[in-house]
Amino acid sequence: MTAVVQAEGLTKYYGRRRGLEDLTLDIQPGEIFGYLGPNGAGKTTTIRLLLDVIRPTRGRVQVLGGDPRDPAVRARIGYLPGELALEGHERARDYLRFLGRVRGGVPASRIEELAERFEADLSVQMGKLSKGNKQKVGLIQAFMHEPEFLILDEPTGGLDPLVQHEFLAMLREVRRSGRTVLMSSHVLAEVESVSDRVGIVRGGRLVAVENVAALREKAVRRMELHFDAPVPAADFEGLAGVRDVRVEGAGVRCTIDGRPDALIKAAARHTVVHMVSAEPDLEEIFLTYYSDEEQHSARQESA
């Protein structure tokens, strides 16, 4: 199967200002790709290049096996802009129907069904929509024609938690039906629960692409075990993947890299009364990536 997105050396300069440099990335069918980076890093530039709103300075990009310039390719994409502008006296419902017609026909019932799921009021004039409602209209138009490829630029900004929950449920449905999603965010917590892979972009460059499951496995995790009687420190020393062990009477604190298997087996020899394991903080891991990258480039610059 061909990749949904195939970018090779994709570069965009706005005059002399760098928007995106040398992006090489494949997004596979059926995956949810989280595109992460601080504001101004090049996320929206990438997305606009994928949709032919702007044209690359250098490099090549194919979407769904074709050129994004081809209207037929864009018909198979659903897009939520990062800064969605909706205005005018037109009612949201009429605008959605218009978009549906241009995209080759979306049944009115489908629009109503999505409006119900997001609890969006479509009888409001577009210029009078609240920020949250605007975002809902944006999500409805992105999902309504059941596109093969969804591009969502900062989709959860302005959504209340209930709607956000519904949105994540819809993303999972999309994945289950084998469709592909590219979703940008500047907060990892928003994308980590649904993404298969996460790419990090900084200063116009893609600095890392990681599998979320693998990352979680690699993640550093703090653990605390409590026993019914004091335990010998020796039992917990030299275990594979276990670091910073501190034994204090009946309590053991440590840090594990990756799998907790060795620690659990060692603890099983005693009577465990209580166990605390902090969820690995992926944010922290990414921050480590970021700072490594910065130190790396700082070293290069000083050299």
């Binding site: 706005y14 606009r48 949709l51 032919d52 709103v53 702007i54 044209r55 209207p71 037929a72 864009r74 018909a75 994409i77 897009y79 802009p81 800064e83 969605l84 502008a85 909706l86 205005e87 005018g88 006296h89 037109e90 218009f98 978009l99 241009v102 995209r103 080759g104 138009q141």
Partner: protein
Amino acid sequence: MLAKSLRDSRRTLVWWSIGLCAFMGLYLGVYNSVRESPEVYGPAALAKFPGALRDLMGLQDFLSGTGYLQSAVYQVFVPMLFVVCATTLANRAIAQPEESGTLELVLTLPVDRRRLVLQRWAALVVSLLVVAVVTLAVAWALSAALTMGVPFGRILAAHTGMFLLALLFGTVALALGAATGRRVVASAAVGVWLVAGYVVVTMGSGVDAVAWLKWFSPYHYYIDGRPLYEGLPVGDYLVLAGATVVFALTAALAFDRRDVGV
């Protein structure tokens, strides 16, 4: 797409039509009192104006129906307002939605960019045609009611010229908007070209140094054939229409190769 553009601008169309008709009504409505006071508005009175001002305002003859209709409606203000209306409508095609950010989503729809521009240009043509037909009906009705004695064919000829003039400037605004994405650029260019072109044709006609510039003034092709007096100036109007088509195609090509919204 076309229907949607028209629907979006229907309020603008209604208000412009009402405005232009009211303007014409005010000016034409006083024709009877003008006709009855030749000592105030007759040739002797007009002669008191400085020559340059007379040229600039196109003051020739207020007493005959044709002369008054030409001076009050077709000479300056109504064509100018018509051009402003066309520019406003043209800016709604590309520049305004680009500045407000609503164009981005539209561009990602499965519509070819060149087609999008041409469809929005077609909406401009239809919109202006609506305003032209409404104002034509009112102009004719008023002139008939006031027994100005101008045949409908002549009014139609003059009105057609006004429509073509407005459409040309509207298309220029659309082309500049499509090429730059900025309303200010489009409006300023139209304003400068319109006013400079008008001045060259009126005040400048006697000044050899600038008189030749009239060939670059759309207004020249509108006024030169004296349509209200002599009927449809086919050649002149074809120049206006031809230039319009060239600018429309330029708009489509310019927009097709541009980054939008950056």
